[in-house]
């Protein structure tokens, strides 16, 4: 798995309308993003590598078959979709320890304030009214930068690069190193965990508790 420092942001776009998918894809490409489009929330989850347990549809686990080679820096989804709505997808992503750090943006053709605040409360970074414009997408760069910086510090990098990132991001990196790595690597990290200084663990707890209205979860949801 090779990640170049200069690689583009990769966005996962979700919309049941072919027309809207074509639009958002072009908008994102024009904004120098790599794009993957899917036509439903469940396909989005599949793409991410989240498997829905058949016995308990509320339980989410990471599929052992998927190596999570795909790095997603942002999910942008339509609100009104049959089956799983954009809101449902948002919830599922935020409930997953592995993926909740991925920023989620909701799009809708309807301006319903209650809907907007519900999405923002659930952890959506932005809410865009359709038709989405190029200018709207410039708002996404800062959100995508956060995950990009996290990912990049996972590889052996020059010390200067880590120093450049803000301290808060560094703390988050510690927690996400454990969450986002593929399964076999995660096991290694878990073994390492007890060796982490109490300072780092405290920093992790601080980050989790200060997350804006994120649900509190105890542990990593990977299956062994």
């Amino acid at each position: 798995m090779v990640m170049e420092t200069e690689s583009k942001f990769h966005v996962l776009a979700v919309d049941d309308s072919l027309f809207d998918r074509k639009m958002i894809e072009r908008l994102l490409q024009k904004s120098s993003c790599q794009v993957t489009t899917v036509d439903s929330g469940s396909k989005a989850l599949e793409f991410l590598g989240l498997r829905v347990d058949d016995n308990d549809p509320n339980a989410l686990s990471t599929s052992p078959q998927i190596h999570q080679e795909v790095e997603i820096n942002l999910i942008i989804t339509d609100y009104c979709m049959p089956g799983m709505t954009g809101y449902d997808l948002l919830k599922k992503v935020k409930e997953s320890a592995a993926f909740r750090s991925i920023p989620v943006v909701i799009m809708s053709s309807e301006n319903v304030p209650a809907r907007i605040s519900r999405c923002l409360e659930e952890g959506a970074e932005e809410f865009f009214l359709k038709p989405v414009k190029l200018a709207d997408l410039t708002k996404l760069k800062p959100h995508m930068m956060k995950t990009k910086l996290k990912k990049e510090s996972e590889k052996p990098v020059a010390i200067e690069e880590i120093v450049v990132s803000k301290p808060e991001i560094e703390k988050e990196e510690d927690s996400s190193v454990i969450e986002i790595l593929p399964l076999h690597q995660e096991l290694e990290s878990e073994q390492l965990e007890p060796m982490l200084s109490s300072n780092k663990r405290k920093a992790m707890e601080e980050v989790i508790s200060s997350d804006r209205s994120r649900p509190k979860y105890n542990d990593i949801t990977t299956s062994v």
């Binding site: 074509k22 639009m23 908008l27 359709k130 038709p131």
Partner: protein
């Protein structure tokens, strides 16, 4: 390259597109669409517009069937169709089509079958009219390109 011919065609193009905006066929969203076209995606606008017109045709057929039986109108399906049409016309900048959709939705909401039939007819008329106009516009573009010129950027406020 015959610069006079190119200049004439470019002028024609400019005048035509401005008139489409002034007459309310297009709104600023169409300019947004044009911004997305570049050397990498030279046919983006015509592709998207084509998709839109296909959608129009399909949706109008479905909605027409929903309205057929006077005592058995599926207003839920109608509403869904109008919603889709309103969304895509809005994204493309098809102003007149979008405006008819707004009235159409109001008729759906109060289950006014007669009103819906009128709106359906109007939507059909408007999208076909726009289709002809845009076809003329794209033809002008092709002529400019074939004559070796570039398509002018047109600023619409």
């Amino acid at each position: 390259m015959n610069t006079t011919v190119v200049a004439q065609l470019q002028r024609q193009f400019q005048d035509y597109i401005v008139s489409l905006y002034q007459q309310g066929f297009l709104d600023s969203q169409f300019s947004e669409l044009r911004k997305l076209q570049d050397e990498g995606s030279p046919d983006f606008v015509s592709e998207v517009v084509s998709l839109f017109f296909d959608d129009c045709s399909k949706l109008i057929n479905t909605m027409s069937r929903s309205l057929e039986q006077p005592d058995n109108v599926d207003f839920k399906q109608l509403d869904s169709g109008v919603h889709q049409l309103k969304g895509s016309s809005s994204s493309v900048g098809a102003r007149r089509v979008k405006n008819v959709c707004i009235s159409f939705k109001e008729c759906c909401d109060v289950q006014n079958r007669e009103g819906c039939l009128r709106c359906l007819q109007q939507v059909d008329y408007e999208y076909k009219m726009l289709k002809t106009k845009l076809q003329d516009l794209f033809n002008l573009e092709q002529q400019i390109l074939q004559a070796g010129g570039t398509i002018p950027q047109v600023d619409i406020n």
